[in-house]
Symmetry: C2
Subunit: 337 residues, 2 copies
DNA sequence: CTGTTAGCGCCTTCAG
DNA sequence: CTGAAGGCGCTAACAG
């Protein structure tokens, strides 16, 4: 691959002149400039960003560590990050951590070797191991945390307001007149799910109700988990008239279980989810849910990170972005008995 | 950040010795080795991969350009790539091209500046513009093409066998006894969709049938497109008894439309899709579809690319990976009339 | 077994 | 307006 030196020779100028025409970093006579540009075109010269980075100590690359890019919400977040980064000429290095601190640490180590300018970390529920925590808090790389705090890592954070999500969905069910409301939650230790559950409880409490322990079922945070949980709830002696599933996947699973149990939605059971995946709008029936601004979260995280990279000394930033209730056809007033 | 030189000074040795203990690239006396390692630990020294790459001309980074990482199939593919790359110590630079040749070219240019070792390109349906094509065929970077050929770029290719997918799904419907089979297809120019449609036609032809033009509806390749197409089909004077949607999103949309039209699935209408998204198994009813080995495709693409990077001169490789029919509850024999 | 040296490709003073 | 020279951090001959 052509180098600047070769370009310089062929154009009969010094490398510094070539450098300056490329970067417009000092005045160059018009004819020299044109000649150099012509040679660059002919030779198909493309500057070597590594050599450049070695000098500047800036790679214009940011690392992104997510638990799993196939989760719809992660994918959306990732897209927000990539969009915001591209807009200012940065590239993204993607790492799937799979909630495995070992793997995450290996990734991060590699990213640091490659001297990323910053890191967007979506940690997931797993606790960071010692190595990962050390790398993160060593301050070698600016880090912004997405949606999940990481114990011992005190840095900028932008997340979703999961508590509000649970609250909004549940209040919607209450406003429809439901009183016997179940919650289908993910694994108990998972922070996002726990917050949504807490929001659910708060809404219930405001209505003078408490969540019946029999109506709270934990399961895996996917369709299968939602399906199994709903089936259990529908088998109860006194089944709920409405159900809040902590995320859309679980809600979709619940819808599936209801249909298989011959329970009509929303006539006999209202179901609300949270996320607003693309397919939720076309579920049977179309799912009422709480849309999350995942793309925006990615964008804002990136903008924040870029500010830190530029040395912005502002105090630690922490926000949670609210979701929006989207009422569709899976919820309705309870049937008269 | 600590440099090798600093480590060398502090350990009282030369940088080359430090280099050699790090890379185990020549014998070093045990005590010196230990001393160096100790200093590395103390100082938290992490080698600078850029400086290293400047010498080797290898970055251990591969670029991945996809149309949009939020599409479920892309996400799965991407994960396959990342997994395979991580397994051999490579990192991934992710770019979303959004079917925009301009943006793709900008990304590729940036990746070349950063001297990626290779590129996995998922081109999408859009035609490459001049700049992009030039960059791709200039041979500066080994490229493997995923699923979509690119005009003028003659290189390794691994895709999905979309034709077989259409064939399998349609033959399944035929074997159930359907004769009036509709096809819900994506945009006419889209290669994957067209191939699935062709497979559908082939299965029909083998059964001595032809696809009734009225029963072929093109639309956007998402839930909305599938929904609208199905609604149109169900409004026909002689509606189909079965329907093959070229992908799961469209199939899910079709399911939605059927329910809204009061058409029971599978009693009055069988629906088959193609992809096997995670949610397909929990659709109402659970969707019969053709699962695609997207993850495997990503893995194989990466392995192939890595071979090319290592200079493997084997002739151009071209494969299409077959999908697998997954029969669930959205298809059944046609109702007697 | 260890150190010295010469770059990798680029930017950036410092001179002219 | 232009060129020469030094150095970013690391590796790999080449000496000893």
């Amino acid at each position: 691959m052509a180098t600047m030196k070769q370009v310089a020779e062929r154009a009969g100028v010094s490398t510094s002149t070539v450098s300056h025409v490329i970067n417009k970093t000092r005045a160059v006579s018009e004819d020299v400039r044109e000649r150099v540009l012509a040679v660059i075109g002919e030779m198909g010269y493309i500057p070597n960003a590594m050599a450049r980075s070695l000098k500047n100590d800036k790679t214009r690359t940011i690392g992104v560590s997510v638990p799993d890019n196939t989760h719809a919400a992660m994918a959306e977040l990732l897209r927000g990050i990539e969009d915001a980064a591209f807009a200012v000429g940065y590239n993204i290095m993607l790492c799937n951590g799979y909630e495995d601190p070992q793997r995450q640490a290996a990734h991060l180590r590699s990213l640091i070797e490659k001297r990323i300018d910053g890191l967007v970390l979506v940690a997931g529920a797993a606790r960071a191991n010692e190595e990962l925590a050390a790398l993160l808090s060593s301050g070698r790389v600016p880090v912004v945390l997405a949606d999940h705090a990481v114990a011992g890592v005190d840095t900028d954070f932008i997340g979703l307001d999961h508590e509000a999500t649970g609250y909004l969905a549940t209040r919607h069910l209450l406003e429809l007149g439901h009183r016997r409301i179940a919650c289908v939650a993910g694994p108990a230790h998972e922070p996002a799910g726990s917050a949504r559950l807490a929001g659910c409880r708060r809404a219930l409490a405001e209505a003078g109700l408490a969540l019946d322990p029999k109506l709270l079922v934990h399961g895996s945070a996917d369709c299968q988990g939602g399906h199994d949980a709903a089936r259990r709830l529908l088998g109860l002696d006194a089944p709920p008239s409405a159900l809040f599933a902590c995320n859309d996947l679980m809600a979709l699973g619940a819808l599936c279980a209801a249909r298989e149990a011959g329970v009509a939605v929303p006539a006999a059971l209202s179901v609300a989810g949270g996320d607003d995946l693309g397919v939720a709008a076309f579920a049977t029936p179309r799912l009422t849910t709480v849309a999350q601004p995942s793309h925006e979260m990615g964008r804002r995280l990136t903008e924040l990170l870029l500010q830190r990279i530029q040395g912005d000394p502002a105090p630690r930033h922490q926000t949670r972005l609210g979701g929006q209730l989207v009422v569709r056809h899976s919820t309705a007033a309870p049937q008269a008995r």
